[in-house]
Symmetry: D2
Subunit: 279 residues, 4 copies
């Protein structure tokens, strides 16, 4: 069990009344216990909390009037240690997949799995189905893409990245998801915080449905999975923008942090890129 202190600070200049939706709060789940959290706005706002997505994660909504606007979120979260999945973990065959995971087989805005089927089966079809195949996919993504901040943008898709061979965490996740779906394994995008991520930022990683549960994979291998704290899950990054704005507002600054506070996180070496998720 690790105790992680995390948060973010977002600084805006609101020109005209703006409607915000923030997806920044840590998910409260069996694996993540929120010990304490504070959301403060300068100036104060009336905040509505909604729950969205398959994990019923929280989004915070508010309408902000013109002027400087600052939002700060801090939380202390106790996370369960990552259980190492056995290497022989199986994938469900198509006919046994639960109904509620079927939508995560479908192609999505940034994960055009329908275009990558030939490549996926040619490259990974010979690896045993299940954990080994997902591991082969993440290893491939990790070794064939270079992590290059600034090389991609908000409309970049898995296929774009597959061609260009570079991107950031969100892009690594999209390629991993697209390949898993092409191989018949439901896969979803998870946004969150990550201890030891350098430079600190929101993180995007992947969960794949194997043997009846969702398992976490991160092809970037940039931070220990034991230090991941989830915000929510969706089909791809389109579902998990940290901030959605309708109005006229300029972002001035963003700061994100996450640190392990104690002795709890013993196994968190970078590169151990798989952990069970227990939602």
């Amino acid at each position: 069990m690790a105790t992680i202190e995390l948060g973010c600070q977002l600084d805006y200049q609101v020109e005209f009344e703006t409607s915000f939706i923030f997806q920044i709060a840590a998910l409260d789940s069996a694996r993540q216990h929120i010990v304490q959290e504070i959301l403060t706005c300068q100036p104060q706002q009336s905040i509505e909390v909604c729950r969205v997505g398959q994990l019923d994660h929280r989004v915070h909504r508010m309408v902000v009037q013109p002027g400087p606007f600052n939002l700060m979120y801090t939380a202390t979260v106790e996370t369960q240690p990552a259980k190492v999945p056995s290497a022989d973990l199986q994938a469900y065959v198509h006919s046994r997949l639960p109904c509620k995971v079927l939508e995560f087989l479908n192609p999505s805005r940034y994960c055009e799995s329908d275009k990558l089927e030939h490549f996926a089966w040619d490259t990974f079809g010979h690896t045993p189905a299940g954990h080994a195949r997902v591991q082969a996919v993440t290893d491939w993504v990790n070794s064939h893409l270079s992590y290059t901040p600034g090389s991609t943008g908000p409309t970049t898709t898995a296929c774009d990245v597959f061609l260009l061979r570079q991107g950031v965490c969100r892009d690594f996740a999209h390629v991993t998801i697209a390949l898993c779906r092409a191989l018949g394994m439901p896969a979803r995008y998870v946004a969150g915080y990550a201890v030891k991520l350098d430079p600190p930022d929101f993180h995007g990683f992947v969960e794949v449905f194997l043997d009846g549960d969702w398992y976490l994979f991160d092809a970037t291998k940039l931070a220990p999975v034991d230090g991941f704290v989830r915000i929510g899950a969706g089909r791809d990054a389109a579902d998990l923008s940290f901030a959605t704005l309708v109005g006229n507002t300029t972002m001035n600054q963003i700061e994100v942090w996450a640190r392990d506070t104690g002795a709890g996180m013993s196994t968190g070496e970078t590169g151990n890129d798989t952990a069970v998720s227990l939602n």
Copy 2:
């Protein structure tokens, strides 16, 4: 109230054991009462019924062994007459949208609304928000795209069609959805049956969230909306394939039909492309 008899017949040659998911059953909802329905398979199969998507529509799953395989679905459905929405129906502003419709603002596989924002606001921003703006969008789609069977394929997106200016019902729906989302109006894809569609086929159309409810729009204007019977709704056609297969199977033939059986459908002239939906 109309009474519609509809159905489909699908003929396959299964080479190796194949897992099928069919999305062909009429939705049972307040607007659509299923009087009778029959699903028959030759040879007989063990069928699992799942419910998926925001409308909890039914999908039918089965694992079929090698050999010829024929599935026939027939249903008699009583549908409520389409209420004509008033032309001054308003769109909700962003901050008032219910949480459960927010996901239908996000771009999806075949509806890249994130790329069409400038065009959408330049072209439709001066039209009053709400029903009038959606009507302007569907009129634009209807008059700027030509309905050309064979011009597009399964990976064709709204942006592809926006460039090429031709497509089929699915493409017309995708462009309409992408433009509505770009304009801040939640929009979803609906698959279904349509009376008087020529040639007969499954139909794809659109629902837009206005003033607290979902309203049906069909930019193709090929069939009367009073004769539409829904199967289910999703983000785009990626969620609503009539058949998803994992295995090795060849489709030989497909037949789809829908006919109004009685005096019920009085207002169904082609071209009246809007009707309230009451789910």
Copy 3:
């Protein structure tokens, strides 16, 4: 006749031996007389001059060793006044186009004219063929795209810009070219210098083949066409990078300028976007 002083200064840090090709020298043609020009390199280089493209424009090649590297080009160019083409200038029908212009009907890397035919004919097909139709295209491009520095990148194509509705001069030119080719009018990309361009930079514009000659069009309308000095022409910007590098080099700075020195340029009001070219 105008006398224009122009030039550029490029500052590099060469890490490993780098092979450069520069396309920065003013074209010497009937319309552009080069009074004087100087190309200087710090440190000095052995420079090879090649001629490429349909206008036989000059490119300068050199291999530079590691260290700081600075190149400065200055020229004084006398340009002929732009003849205003008559509004009833005709386009040649397809069967009369000279062989040497046929290649400029073909789609190219950044001008996918093959995808825009339906749009082009629907939108401009009713305008009289010839100058009026090209004018309608440039007016459309000018009024439907917003000039937004930073909105596009080196791999952005005409179709991308057609969707996004924003770009820079190169993008305006690519959309104009793609539409003209889709309409059966040969069109080529011209790189050059432009007086009064703000901020100063290399400029990209268009030439369309009408009535036996190439005529200049600039959909950006950002600078007077009388102040344009051409470097060369090609199929699109892929043929006219100001610098192509093979090696390992970082660009530190670029400065570009062009100014009218005298009383020569009397008619150069911005917005007069057409002038005859006399190559």
Copy 4:
């Protein structure tokens, strides 16, 4: 030396006056001697012959009035045997490339070499520059793409095919060209006839500039290179449509053939995919 008899027959129904450009005539060059050729049209047409492209190949132009229209081209061509290039043939470094081949380094409509640089260098950068590297590229294309008639269309690009992993000869050529250009080797598209191609059709292959000359490569390995007869060369298939039409005409039928008539073609086993070109 081989003596090849080849030709094509094209059958049209012309609805309205149509301007045609055909690129079907065998190139007359040092390597290809045209012994005899006949072009016949039913009904008779006034035919204009133009020369285009870097090889100055012939195109045939005519304006055809409404009615049935049939064109038949036959030729007897003596071709030089393919010299096997030595495996240690070098590529020129960038600074030594002749000016006239530089344009074949630029990305083109169907060969987006600018997007494939990372992949190309990661995958082929360790192979010795020159013939060995081109061979590695064609081997990669041959083993990673499946030849699947009907899987691609006229707007399909090298990047599309790189994703989908299937295509026809034109697509194999485009991927090969894009990769060679990304690696700094000038590459061009060649259209032609091919003996033993099954099913018979026009063929598309590749020439790469190595050690001062253009060398032929065909990643499809579907027919012996000794049986290739060239029509012309260009940047990609956009420059080499066998027929370009402006007007209103329907194609009814196309037939293409090429057969070796004698004992000349001794070394033509399929799979020997390289031969020197001597233009």
